[in-house]
């Protein structure tokens, strides 16, 4: 058995022999490591949630909305703001490079929809055929709106899964006739399932119709609620945003220095928005982790210093029996490492438990990752080394004669 293993065994025996001291030291580390584990889990959870949103929306998606929120610069979505028209979509397509597809969009919510004696309120979207590709909203059944439907303002629609459930139950809606605002529409297909949006909106409670039909047969709106754009090369997305902005400003005759009368939402805005919710929690946990780990370190230093004083005769007899200064140093550092590591394990368990709890209470998404495990173990090793070294050195440098004096 090599010497360092013998000393490690001795350290373990000493820790075992002083359970209360070890437990107090462990608790400090456990709280710090638990906070750290939770930060990483919550951060990872938030990141994955954001990336899920971005992926669902598409990392190549740009949205232009009328008006500007004065505070955030993000689209206000206010119906009173009327700055975008269908021509804007054409101008973007014609004058901006790196554009894969553009679709103007009009929508109104809580519109009366009937099928036989069934009734529901739903959101109606007026779109063009490329919208399906832009928003990844292909039909799960039937066919999507065609160019022909658009040209002839056909009274056809596709319904979302919630609308289908409300009006048709389990029955097949394709080919059936529904009434939107008392105008008859033939259901051409079902939209694929999308679930709840990051804003908590049911993305399946919608009906899409050709934008021409929307304008001519349902609502006389000439203004758009948004223009959706996909870019070809996402690496060039920033330049494309700037180009779209310049084209629209020019088209809207906005003088230099005047603010835009539209706002653009990019994938980065989505990331910022989604992160915003988790940021406060992450900041709080970071603060708790930093303070806890510092306190844990101070507790380790204090208790170890007290322990060095209380164990002077033990240090003395070990030195008398042949322990080198380094042997004593190693023993005390390893005691700190053992205690800190055990505290770390407790902290990991608490942290993962806390993360699962936050997730289940819908406070924040969290994801348990190997990174959290590695960071937790690394932090407890670091704490032991940083805060245990001084007391260990003090122990090693004790004069054996003084320590053995009665």
């Amino acid at each position: 058995m090599i010497k360092i293993v013998r000393i490690a065994r001795e350290s373990f025996r000493m820790v075992k022999g002083n359970r209360l001291r070890a437990f107090i030291m462990m608790l400090g580390v456990a709280v710090g490591v638990a906070s750290l584990t939770m930060i990483i889990s919550v951060s990872r959870g938030a990141y994955e949630e954001v990336m899920d949103i971005v992926n669902r929306q598409g990392p190549d998606l740009l949205q232009v909305r009328p008006g500007t929120d004065r505070h955030t610069g993000l689209p206000s979505g206010s119906r009173e703001v009327v700055s975008l028209i269908e021509e804007d979509a054409d101008v973007i397509l014609q004058h901006v490079g790196n554009i894969a597809a553009v679709s103007p969009v009009k929508d109104r919510k809580e519109i009366e929809v009937k099928y036989g004696d069934k009734f529901t309120l739903s959101r109606i979207f007026g779109i063009t055929p490329v919208w399906a590709q832009i928003r990844n909203f292909g039909p799960s059944k039937g066919e999507f709106i065609s160019e022909e439907d658009l040209t002839f303002a056909a009274r056809v629609c596709l319904i979302g899964q919630t609308v289908k459930k409300n009006l048709f139950g389990e029955a097949d809606p394709v080919g059936q006739s529904i009434r939107i605002k008392d105008v008859p529409f033939t259901v051409k297909g079902e939209l694929n399932w999308k679930g709840i949006s990051s804003a908590g909106r049911d993305r399946d409670d919608r009906i899409v119709v050709p934008i021409t039909t929307y304008t001519r047969r349902l609502f006389r709106d000439i203004h758009l609620t948004q223009i959706v754009i996909t870019v070809k090369d996402t690496d060039e997305i920033d330049a494309t945003i700037e180009d779209v902005r310049n084209v629209l400003r020019e088209h809207h005759n906005i003088a230099p220095g005047e603010p835009d009368d539209f706002a653009m939402r990019t994938p980065q805005d989505l990331i910022d928005l989604a992160y915003g919710a988790s940021r406060a929690l992450i900041n709080l946990l970071t603060g708790i982790a930093a303070v806890s780990l510092l306190v844990a370190g101070i507790v380790i230093t204090n208790i170890m210093l007290a322990s060095v004083s209380a164990r002077r005769s033990e240090i003395g007899i070990r030195r008398a029996l042949g322990a080198r200064k380094n042997d004593i140093l190693h023993q005390f550092v390893m005691e700190c490492l053992i205690i800190s590591f055990m505290g770390g394990l407790l902290g990991i368990a608490l942290g993962f438990g806390g993360s699962i709890m936050l997730s289940s209470m819908d406070v924040s998404a969290s994801k348990i990752t190997p990174l959290a495990l590695v960071a937790a173990i690394a932090s407890c090793i670091l704490i032991a080394l940083i805060f245990g070294l001084y007391p260990a050195k003090k122990a090693a440098n004790q004069n054996p004669v003084d320590t053995l004096r009665a």
Partner: protein
Amino acid sequence: MIKIKDIEKTYTKGSVPTEVLRGINLLIQRGEYVAIMGTSGTGKSTLMNIIGCLDKPTKGHLELDDVDVYKLNDDALSSLRNKKIGFVFQQFFLLERTTALDNVLLPLIYTDKYPADANHRAKKALASVGLEDRTEYYANELSGGQLQRVAIARALINDPDVILADEPTGNLDSRSTSEILEIFNRLHKEGRTIIVVTHDQAVAKHAQRILELKDGRIAENDTGSKSKN
């Protein structure tokens, strides 16, 4: 052989120097049984610490088996203590919450090469002091005499040349004292060098030679009762 030459030791407390040892010259042959006597504060424990390489004198030389001890660095001194010297203290200095066996094994932790038969050796050492049935007893479960016997077993585990005992019977009753002194007698007969620091004449008389320390000097260098007998 232990050769002590012109050893002086001065402690300084604040700005006041106190001379504890004032020129000690001493030769202790291998296998000798020596008692160092003196009243409290005469420097006998200081001398023992210097012989045991735990302390360094202010001046002078110490040779252990022709090795100039003060030419060794701290690690080498630790190694020398581990191999050549077995300590027995008045306060026993056994580790609490540790069995007799583990206490005896303690010096082996610091050896360069851990013996394969460590446990066997420790049990043998405990048996040699009559504690073969107490190997798994914790320190708090043993009497004073038994604790000191464990300490002696610990001192013997590395088969040292010299046993240094500082008031080994100071905390023991007369029966335990007799037992411990009997063990020292046996160890001496086996050929070990024994140096006992004591203020007790009854303990000292077991030695071959009695050194009387007075005011930091060897006042009397007497042959003990053993050699007289």
